[in-house]
């Protein structure tokens, strides 16, 4: 009985007997040596011998004679270091976490099924069958993962399997697709349609236009302003009558942090010391352990490429080869809309569209739950997409209108696998553009630089050709003119090649100025990061790679610079207490850099948050609404300080902006003092912000807390509390390509390995590691610690 109970997971504890046994339990996951594999090894499924070398940063370099063997080995080595993560992420995408974690995850799983993840992944995999080459790449990768799994005894399972007490299952190409859908949802699965609809019905179109402008107050578009577009846009027809959605009801609970941003840029040889282009990229994502990225070099018959991959998908996602370098930032164009459907009756078997009744269809989702009976959930679809939330159900994310159908680009099959496969092999601008054609979702700003001295940036993906503001609010599902009527042709996507200014850059901001004929969406990142990067690049010449590292670490807070002087002026009038005077002085002397050791960023951050909510919460703070943006608020503070919005409508008297500013300052000082004591070291920005890198499944003890760094969201060095630069890379093109990079984690996904988090300290200090790009399998520069010759078995 005791043995049996120590063999089983009890509540949230791992099965203790199995887990603590030093021969089989967690102790077994401690890696006492750096040795990865023996010098010789045989594997089932290889066609020809392969050379596998691990360098001094534990990065694998694979040299294969056959393409099949290259992706087989990528699957094998990635699984060796990241098996649990690969499987967990695909389980998360597929809505299968309750199988591992029990009934608490049912709601999460149901949401994943309702947004059509299973539908999207299966549809995409079916479409991929037409591309035999990619099918064999995915199959080879999967076979490699499975070959690794087959070598594992339960005692050798990755740690998390032991903690959560389950076993890995076979890998399939479908799981690779799930991983890409997981990324697609992470990067495009948000919408403000419901909230904007509520704001519209409460305040009317005039206020929406003034407070929620489609074109931000200040812009710094990705594509240089003034660019002329020499093409005839496809036609879009707009409904003649405005639609008034029926929702406008109270729902939402929380607002996700707008933290998924990124920077990338490339500078042409005319502005660099070497005369060849330089390229930089740092995608900002959730900071987790194991890290989202895995570094690897892949060399095969027609390819030799280095960079970071996503564990679970073949090829390199961000990287370089001998001829080109490329990187990505998220597009933030709107590719998710909500449709109000008109059903014929309560059975909802038919809905009204284009003046006729059309049939809905249903998909039954089987959600298995650990320790409980399987739940069947029926998801209903119209031609728009799934009904994500049924009437009366609680919103999972607070942005989902009940009873509405969701149109999401992620449901459309794309061939992103091919895009990266071809980018890995591209040698020039034409091949880079061709690679981008098969890419659908999640749209990215693909920055590019080549040995031929070309630089370019494509805002790339598939975009619905919308009429203006289509999808900003909830749409009338019965009117065919609200459907996505077509696509922006690929060659008409915003792009720029070798601009006169000698550089290209992107930071998730609005892609173009108003000359671009298509409407892409209303919610892009504000100008701050883009403007700061462009300021650097405009004013620098003779750039060397280390300059790019310095720019990536830049902590200038343009938001503070734009508003703090005005706030301080308003604060100066009524008398301040002695302690407040000290705080005031610190702010007055601040140079607007959010450096870790400075106190001013902490005070400003607290003060701004309180003030922002004091201004807007009385009108827009109700659940279901959304607040005007930061930049729009600053514009009003600076340019229209007498605006009626500053009055608190809940009080009898009329408040003025200086009164709000003063009250917010008092409150900020008071709160900081009560949490941190009198102004001192504890107030320093790095300590106050305290970045953490959490374990992917939030298992306590396996993450890192309290990291002290500068920067913040909206700053080039976008390191927030849980978000930040997930991979910093600088590539120097030329006769010999050179590159540097780092990510906040380590190559191994095993917390018992020295390489679980060994990059973190350098990342924190803002250092980049020199990446070892091997031209041949013997080109080791003295940095290869472990070489294995692998033969087919």
């Amino acid at each position: 009985m005791l043995t049996a109970s120590l063999n089983r997971q009890i509540g949230r504890l791992p099965p203790l007997g199995k887990f603590l046994d030093p021969f089989h339990g967690f102790w077994r996951n401690v890696e006492l040596s750096d040795r990865v594999f023996d010098n010789q090894m045989r594997l089932h499924g290889l066609e020809r011998p392969v050379s596998l070398s691990y360098d001094d940063r534990q990065v694998p370099h694979i040299f294969a004679e056959r393409e099949h063997d290259l992706y087989f080995m990528q699957g094998f080595v990635t699984a060796k270091d990241r098996l649990w993560q690969m499987e967990f992420q695909t389980h998360a995408a597929a809505g299968r976490l309750a199988e591992i974690l029990g009934p608490a995850l049912l709601q999460y799983d149901r949401h994943q099924r309702r947004i059509g993840m299973t539908y999207a992944a299966e549809k995409t995999l079916r479409a991929l069958q037409h591309d035999a080459e990619m099918v064999s790449v995915l199959q080879a990768y999967s076979d490699g993962v499975n070959e690794f799994i087959s070598t594992l005894a339960p005692a050798e399972f990755p740690l998390e399997y032991k903690i959560l007490d389950y076993a890995p299952e076979p890998w399939t190409p479908l799981k690779c697709v799930y991983l890409l859908k997981y990324m697609a949802w992470k990067l495009t699965g948000r919408s403000n349609d419901l909230r904007m609809t509520n704001v519209l019905s409460r305040f009317g179109p005039e206020i929406v236009r003034r407070l929620f402008p489609d074109t931000p107050v200040r812009t710094e578009p990705v594509i240089p302003p003034g660019t002329v577009w020499h093409f005839q846009p496809v036609t879009r027809q707009r409904p003649e009558t405005a639609f008034e959605p029926a929702v406008a009801r109270d729902l939402p609970k929380f607002q996700p942090h707008p933290g998924n941003g990124s920077n990338n840029w490339a500078v042409s040889g005319s502005r660099t010391a070497s005369g060849y282009p330089l390229l930089a990229n740092d995608p900002h994502l959730d900071l987790t352990l194991p890290s989202i990225w895995y570094e690897i070099q892949l060399a095969g018959p027609d390819v030799n490429v280095y960079g970071v991959s996503l564990p679970g998908a073949p090829s390199i996602i961000v990287g370089f080869n001998q001829k080109i370098g490329w990187g990505v930032t998220n597009s933030e164009a709107d590719v998710l809309d909500w449709y109000q459907e008109t059903f014929r009756d309560a059975s909802r078997k038919e809905y009204w569209h284009d003046n006729q009744w059309k049939k809905t269809w249903r998909r039954v989702e089987k959600i298995r739950i650990r320790g409980a009976a399987t739940v069947l959930d029926t998801v209903m679809y119209t031609h728009h997409g799934p009904i994500v939330l049924e009437e009366g159900e609680d919103a999972h994310d607070g942005r989902t209108p009940p009873g509405h159908a969701m149109r999401w680009l992620g449901h459309d099959p794309g061939n992103e696998v091919r895009t990266f496969y071809e980018l890995n092999r591209a040698a020039n601008y034409e091949e880079y553009v061709r690679a981008l054609e098969s890419y659908v979702c999640p749209a990215q700003n693909f920055v590019f630089a080549s040995q031929d001295n070309d630089i370019a940036l494509w805002h790339n993906g598939r975009f619905p050709a919308r009429w203006r503001e289509q999808g900003k609010f909830i749409l009338d599902g019965s009117d065919p003119l609200t459907d996505w009527q077509g696509w922006i042709p690929h060659e008409q996507n915003p792009h720029v090649k070798n601009p006169k200014r000698g550089f290209v850059s992107s930071a998730n901001q609005k892609p173009t100025d108003l000359k671009y004929p298509y409407y892409l969406g209303a919610h892009f990142a504000p100008y701050y990061r883009g403007a700061r990067i462009n300021e650097w690049l405009r004013t620098s010449d003779n750039l060397v790679p280390d300059d790019f590292r310095v720019i990536q670490l830049d902590t200038k807070n343009l938001h503070a610079e734009s508003v703090l002087p005005a706030l301080l002026k308003m604060l100066a009038r009524p008398p301040l207490s002695e302690k407040q005077k000290d705080i005031f002085e610190v702010l007055r002397r601040w140079d607007f850099f959010n450096d870790a050791e400075k106190v001013a960023p902490t005070v400003f951050d607290k003060w701004w948050r309180i003030l922002y909510h004091a201004i807007w919460d009385d009108e827009f703070g109700e659940p279901g609404l959304t607040l005007p943006g930061r930049a729009r608020t600053v514009e009003m503070i600076v340019g229209d300080p007498d605006a009626g919005w500053f009055d608190d409508i809940h009080t009898g008297k009329v408040e003025t902006l200086p009164e709000l500013v003063r009250a917010a300052f008092d409150k900020a000082c008071g709160e900081l003092r009560s949490f941190l004591g009198d102004m001192g070291e504890a107030w320093q920005w790095g300590k106050y912000k305290a970045t953490s890198i959490r374990h992917l499944a939030r298992i306590p003890g396996l993450g890192i807390k309290g990291l002290i760094t500068g920067g913040d969201l909206g700053i080039v060095n976008a390191t927030g509390r849980h978000h930040g630069p997930s991979w910093r890379m600088v590539v120097s093109l030329g006769p010999e390509v050179e590159a540097w990079g780092i990510y906040p984690g380590g190559q191994s996904g095993n917390p018992g390995s020295r390489h679980y988090r060994d990059f973190v300290d350098d990342w924190l200090r803002g250092e980049l590691a020199e990446l070892l790009f091997m031209k041949t399998k013997d080109d080791d520069h003295g940095r290869i610690l472990n070489n294995t010759g692998i033969d087919p078995k």
Partner: protein, 117 residues
């Protein structure tokens, strides 16, 4: 008794090397059944044997890895220090061992009584 403890450690190490974790239960059970003369003897032999085996291997791993994983596991269990994980390993191993060897001893007594009737 010391010999019996050594047998648990030796046989246990071999069994655990090749077999699943519960093989240690079988070893302690067998030693309790065939080699122990008293209830107390069986309990002490099972407890000491398995806890020494487990703490020895765990300590080797802990110290040669500078506690790379033990700290995290301690935090996961909400324990303030890594050595408590070592102690927990020893105590749990001891508990498993003594219960197994006691069961073995009682089983043997039962059979012996049964034979007499």
């Amino acid at each position: 008794m010391i010999l019996n403890v050594l047998i648990v450690i030796g046989l246990g190490a071999v069994a655990e090397w090749f077999l699943p974790w519960w093989s240690i239960v079988v070893v302690a059970f067998l030693v309790g059944a065939w080699r122990c003369d008293s209830f107390r003897d069986a309990g002490v032999v099972g407890f000491t044997g398995v806890s020494i085996l487990w703490i020895a291997v765990a300590s080797f791993i802990h110290f040669s890895s500078h506690g790379i994983l033990t700290d995290g596991i301690a935090r996961m269990f909400q324990m303030p220090a890594a050595w408590m994980v070592l102690l927990l390993t020893a105590l749990l191993g001891g508990a498993v061992g003594s219960l197994a060897s006691l069961t073995g001893f009682l089983f043997q007594q039962l059979r012996f009584d049964g034979n007499r009737d």
